[in-house]
Amino acid sequence: MTSTALKLNYLQVKKGLFSWIFSVDHKRIGLLYLYSLLTFFVAGVTLGILMRLELLNPGKDLMEAKTYNQVFTMHGVIMIFLFIIPSIPAVFGNFFLPIMLGTDDVSFPRINLLSWWVYIIGAIMALSTLMFGDGPADTGWTFYAPYSVKTGTNVTMAVLAAFVLGFSSILTGLNFIVTIHRLRTPGMGFLKMPLFAWALYATSWIQLLATPVVGITLLMIVAERVFGVGLFDPAIGGDPILYQHLFWIYSHPAVYIMALPAFGIISEVLPTFSNRTIFGYKAIAFSSLAIAFVGYFVWGHHMFTAGMSGPARIIYSIMTFLVAIPTAIKVFNWVATLYKGSIDVQPPLLYSLGFIFQFMVGGLSGLVLGALATDIHLHDTYFVVGHFHYVMFGGTGFAFFGALHYWYPKIWGRMYNKLVANIAFFIFFIGFNLLYFPMMIAGLMGMPRRYYDYLPEFHLPNMISTFGSWVLAVGLLLMLGNLIAGFWRKREKIGRNPWGTGITLEWQTLSPPPITNFDRMPVLPKDGPYDYDHKPDIKE
């Protein structure tokens, strides 16, 4: 008789700070990422709130123009490099990929730990730009030449930080690719892998292949600043648009690094709370690869007004429309999964539904931007700001928090207050839409982005948006507070399958899992990872 009390779980085995920050256990590394990530996220949100306070009224409210530029730059750098890009892969990928594959760790556990340390070093470097010289970079997170070369702010350090953070991302991607190729449990072919694993696989290839290009580009900026050599200076035969090409060759695929794992989360949550198999497993799996592939060829749509040649712009626009197709396929399949499912309305499902709505708004607005004629009017306006916040925050952000609510009982063996979680979701959702929808309107009306001041005609949408940011903040605080408070709730016994309808392998093991992930060999469902017709009989 195996008493679970005799088997220590991964939280209990070895205690103390050093056993965590030098752990090679993928579960602990995932949590190290979670705690650091959430800290930086809160810092990024604070910067966002400050920006919205400045934009409450026209004219100077809180800060000078240059400070505002530094705030939005820092906001972007933190949110993109310190939060969104690592988010789902580094937290939930690390924690659950090995478990979902039926193995006990990733292929290179020490490189996994290294990736977290590199991330922390990069984060420290990025935050250090606050502490010296002329302050943090004021170029925007895109660091466009020639301003990024000429400005006296701490661009060199910021850009080197991004380089280091990119290295962390590459290591994670490399680890996951090898893990997926080598460590799937016997009987689990690629087409029997959960869709979250497929999503991580596609994402990892982007992390691996796209990141080095921005890495070298950022080094070129450093070289220009340090050696005074104009690599992007027209006076000596250079071209500033070349910087943009190289920057976006990474940064467009980067948005798929953000989106694909989120799609993977939705594909996991929906079957569980519909208690039925996912619709179109193969279509969803292959669409992830298609998005990764086509996504490499659309980068010019960030540069339609920069001065590119006509034929190039047409090519990029066509490719941009193409890349929307596999994403649409996913949305149709998700909706079809819900249809005639036995719906259990729980917090993770609410976040997923919020995701589908918000990602659609963001995605459709992306088509408006992908069309050349409309983009001319909307480039560098608040329409763009609205678009990317809808997809990155309303999309990936919501998926991240949904995943947190979904896997919380498995990770910590506890449960949060679901009523409060649902209330927090609604406040968060309403706040989110109040904050970002007016931006679309302001953008259509012509309000430019990255300006700390604006014309009086844009006052109303800005006021609503700022008010929305306060509602969002309340929702966020309530959500995070509720999750943290879950640790002090009266301890209920969390079984292997607390939602009752989870079917992927993590729902066969203990909550929290033992150090080697499984106390018994996992049993694969007969007809694929979402085979609800032949659910394996899992005894506690």
């Binding site: 090995p98 290179f108 460590l183 292949l209 290009v213 580009t217 035969g237 190289l246």
Partner: protein, 201 residues
């Protein structure tokens, strides 16, 4: 667990190394794209600037690296056949060739710097547009490449040390193979750098 992440898995190490090589290819790839664009925009300047480079030295260095690729490939054959001594000798030869390469590079670079053709120096500042781009790319790309040769040298030194201690042997030679892969990458990059900088006409 048969498929444990904590088992030694030679195939996983090899795959991991190849994936890492892909990142290196794209890292240098970015610089090759810059080169391509700027040569397209400044064809005459690039041609004129390239006359400053010594084709004989470049060819010599190309041959040196190709031979070193052979010696490291042979060192893998040696260890697979159980001949640790030969493997080490071939690895040392590879390192020696790497040093020859770096010495030649040193002479090439110092000649240019002596002529003021380095960012920050007077002759460089006054170059026509396009020519300074050529030289900047030359120093950046061959410099980054030389850094990778040094890193490769360190890796080879580690392999020599571990082979000597018997930790790398006929049954466990993944380290040697992976060091070889890294070294060949360094060779590959030079195979493209050489014609693009030295053989423009």
């Amino acid at each position: 667990m048969p498929n444990s992440g904590h088992n030694r898995d030679a195939e996983a190490s090899k795959l991991g190394m190849w994936l890492f090589l892909f990142t290196e290819l794209l890292l240098f790839g970015g610089l090759f794209i810059v080169y391509m664009v700027y040569r397209t925009l400044n064809p005459e300047s690039f041609l004129i600037a390239s006359f400053e480079l010594d084709v004989a030295m470049g060819t010599f260095n190309t041959i040196v690296l190709l031979v070193s690729s052979m010696t490291i490939a042979m060192s893998i054959t040696a260890i697979q056949l159980g001949d640790a001594k030969k493997s080490i000798a071939l690895l040392i030869t590879t390192m020696a060739l790497a040093m020859v390469f770096l010495v030649v590079k040193y002479f090439e670079w110092s000649a240019k710097i002596h002529h003021g053709l380095f960012p920050g120096h007077e002759v460089y500042q006054n170059l026509p547009p396009g020519e300074s781009l050529f030289f900047f790319l030359y120093f950046f790309m061959t410099g980054l490449h030389a850094l990778h040769i040094i890193i490769g040298g360190v890796i080879i030194a580690v392999v020599i040390y571990r082979t000597n201690k018997g930790l790398v042997n006929q049954d466990r030679f993944t380290l040697t193979e992976n060091a070889g892969l890294y070294w060949h990458l360094v060779d590959l990059i030079w195979i493209y750098l050489f014609p693009l900088f030295y053989l423009i006409h």
